[in-house]
């Protein structure tokens, strides 16, 4: 549905988007995720035609639109600040795109009503944007964008101006509307939870480049860079060298001598330097107990516990294996003070090796 090929954009010497390739499927909910200033909003603006790329091509439904004027692209955009027309009523705001498309008056009325129903905002047609709450303005902006039945819906940080509780509620609402309408959607966000909760696939961006594209689960469990690992959650980042094959995987010798088994095929030469990523919640503060009593899929270490901080849902545990500090995160339910030392286990599958 949407394709970007080798897109670049620089403002002076500031190269904000570098060689971006993307492919968004029909009906997909796709997110561009990254810290502020990573170039994600610029990509969205290039898709919308607000900004022209320096090089590369943008294709919408197989047709090149790279140079098409902003008002001749069959896509709509919901802005971070909603950009509602302050002098028009809610109904006129929603009707605007239809009026521009020369839709007959009766049909406009019907479709505006439908769209306001979809965003669960009936009965406010006559209000001005200034008389609405932030959440309501957000819904009007969404209705205005979906009412024209665009081929592509672009969302620029749509929830970032809402307070936390409302944001959560709107997030589910957004998902519902997208599923209901089936419009291919590209979301730009810096909020990991939002991207994870809404997206079929996510492109994680850093410094103008796309570092990884994948499902939320892929991104979280198999990050391809330490940046992505750290950006998407807490991580233990360990350094070492690949040692060689081991049954069902291979081994990594960490710098301080610890040997960790990793599942999967060897993608690294023996002796190559590598980084090992372990999510804190993958570390269990117990000996592995499996139905057959085997422990071969686990790394088992003796650890000293330095500190445990109760955070509610989780307990954050600082521990040490030999001299190697690790952070573990265990369920807060049933928390009680730990003894000073403990056996810990880390599943091989939870260890991710990157170059």
């Amino acid at each position: 549905m949407l394709e970007l090929r080798g897109v670049n954009k620089a403002y002076g010497s500031n190269h904000v988007v570098r060689d971006v390739d993307l492919n968004v499927e029909q009906g997909e909910f796709f997110s561009l995720l990254g810290p502020s200033g990573c170039g994600k909003t610029t990509i969205l603006r290039m898709i919308a035609g607000i900004v022209a790329p320096d090089s590369g091509a943008i294709l919408l439904a197989g047709t090149e639109v790279t140079e098409a004027p902003i008002n001749k692209r069959d896509l709509t955009l919901v802005f971070q600040n909603y950009a509602l027309f302050p002098h028009m009523t809610v109904a006129d705001n929603v009707a605007f795109g239809l009026t521009m498309r020369g839709v007959p008056r009766a049909e406009i009325q019907r479709r505006v009503r439908e769209a306001l129903d979809v965003v669960k905002l009936p009965g406010l047609d006559g209000r001005k944007p200034s008389q609405l709450s932030g959440g309501q303005q957000q819904r009007v902006a969404l209705a205005r964008a979906i009412v024209v039945r665009p081929r592509l819906l672009l969302l620029d940080e749509p929830l970032s101006n809402l307070d936390a509780a409302l944001r959560d509620q709107m997030r589910w609402h957004l998902k519902e509307v997208q599923q209901q309408t089936g419009i291919t959607t590209v979301l730009v966000t810096h909020d990991i939870q939002e991207a994870f909760a809404l997206s079929d696939r996510i492109a994680v961006m850093n410094a103008g480049r796309i570092e990884q594209i994948g499902s939320p689960h892929d991104i979280y469990t198999r990050p391809t860079s330490s940046f992505i690992a750290a950006f998407t959650g807490d991580i233990n980042l360990l350094e070492g060298a690949v040692e060689g094959d081991e049954a069902g995987g291979f081994a990594v010798r960490l710098n301080d001598g610890l040997r960790v088994l990793v599942s999967g095929e060897v993608r690294h030469q023996a002796g190559a330097r590598a980084k090992l990523l372990i999510r804190p919640e993958a570390i269990a503060l117990a000996s592995p107990v499996e139905p057959d009593g085997h422990t071969r899929d686990e790394n088992v270490f003796e650890a000293r516990i330095d500190d445990a901080t109760f955070l509610g849902a989780q307990v954050r545990v600082s521990l040490r294996v030999g001299d190697l500090p690790l952070i573990a995160s265990v369920p807060g339910h049933g928390f009680e003070p730990y003894p000073a030392s403990r056996t810990i286990s880390i599943p091989r599958a939870a260890c991710v090796l990157i170059a």
Binding site: R45, I50, V51, A52, D54, E67, P69, I70
Partner: protein
């Protein structure tokens, strides 16, 4: 470059990326006003500057000859020089009086409730929107030899002869101060409104008294606004025409009345043009003066 502009570019990708089509819309939108300004503003001013360097002959301007005589005459002739100095002193007096009086007024307004503030401002704005001739006429009724003030003082037996309240510099000063105070008041009041009141509270909290707060905090922070107001105030004083004509009379002419006489009575356009150029040059004096003062305060 504006994003809108970029968005409006015509597709010329195949012809090479470097070439960008010119966006004609802003040019088209600007053209009517720009053309009007060039023809009816730049050209006349330019023409006047040129005229001021030509001699005046019996049949009008002699455009084939060039001279500095007009400027010499305006600046050295004793009659013209008196007028020049009078213009400058009245302008300075009005500016000083406005700068001194603006703080008590602006502070007073700033301390009132918002609704009262609006009414007070309206009182000061109303004279501004009343026709200058009308205002001057009001002062003539008040200050004239047979005017209300003199009549009242005489009937009270306080004076025997009418006080010379107009047909002199004093009358012009009163009229101009009254007409132009608003240009200083509005920016200073707006700047006070914009002041972070926490700064004032902080100063009070540190033990500063009322007078200190005004002198050390409020006045320095509103000085740029005062400067901006004074520039307009002085520009208006320099070019005031009706007020000095009606309140000063024939004996208290200022530069603008003189220009009128030269251009429309003597019909000496080169000299009149030179008078205009001198007046124009003088209006830059307040701007430069205020700039210089502003700089010396910062350093």
């Amino acid at each position: 470059m504006s994003l809108l502009l970029e968005a409006a570019r015509q597709p010329d990708r195949t012809a090479g990326r470097a070439r960008r089509a010119i966006d004609w819309l802003p040019v088209a939108l600007l053209l009517p006003l720009f053309a009007l300004f060039v023809v009816w503003y730049v050209a006349p001013l330019f023409g006047t500057v040129l005229n001021s360097f030509h001699p005046h002959g019996l049949s009008g301007i002699r455009t084939d000859e060039w001279t500095l005589e007009n400027y010499l005459e305006i600046t050295t002739d004793p009659y013209y020089r008196t007028i020049l100095i009078r213009t400058l002193s009245i302008t300075a007096a009005v500016a000083i009086a406005s700068a001194v009086f603006v703080y008590p007024v602006a502070l007073f307004i700033d301390r009132q409730k918002p609704s009262v503030q609006t009414y007070l401002l309206l009182i000061y704005i109303t004279p501004w929107l009343v026709n200058v001739t009308v205002k001057a006429f009001g002062w003539v009724l008040l200050l004239g030899p047979g005017g209300i003030i003199n009549t009242a003082l005489r009937s009270l037996g306080l004076i025997e002869r009418p006080l010379p309240l107009m047909f002199n510099e004093f009358g012009v000063f009163i009229g101009l101060f009254h007409a132009q105070f608003i240009f200083v008041l509005l920016p200073v009041w707006a700047a006070m409104q914009g002041l972070d009141k926490n700064v004032v509270y902080a100063a009070a909290n540190l033990g500063a008294g009322q007078a200190t707060i005004i002198r050390r905090i409020i006045v320095p922070l509103t000085l740029p606004a005062l400067a901006a107001g004074l520039i307009i105030n002085m520009t208006m004083s320099l070019s005031a025409f009706t007020t000095p004509a009606l309140l000063g009379g024939a004996r208290t002419k200022v530069l603008s009345n003189l220009s009128h006489e030269i251009n429309l009575v003597q019909l000496n356009w080169p000299l009149g043009a030179a008078a205009g150029v001198v007046l124009l040059a003088l209006t830059f004096v307040p701007i430069l003066l205020v700039r210089a003062l502003g700089r010396s305060r910062i350093t």
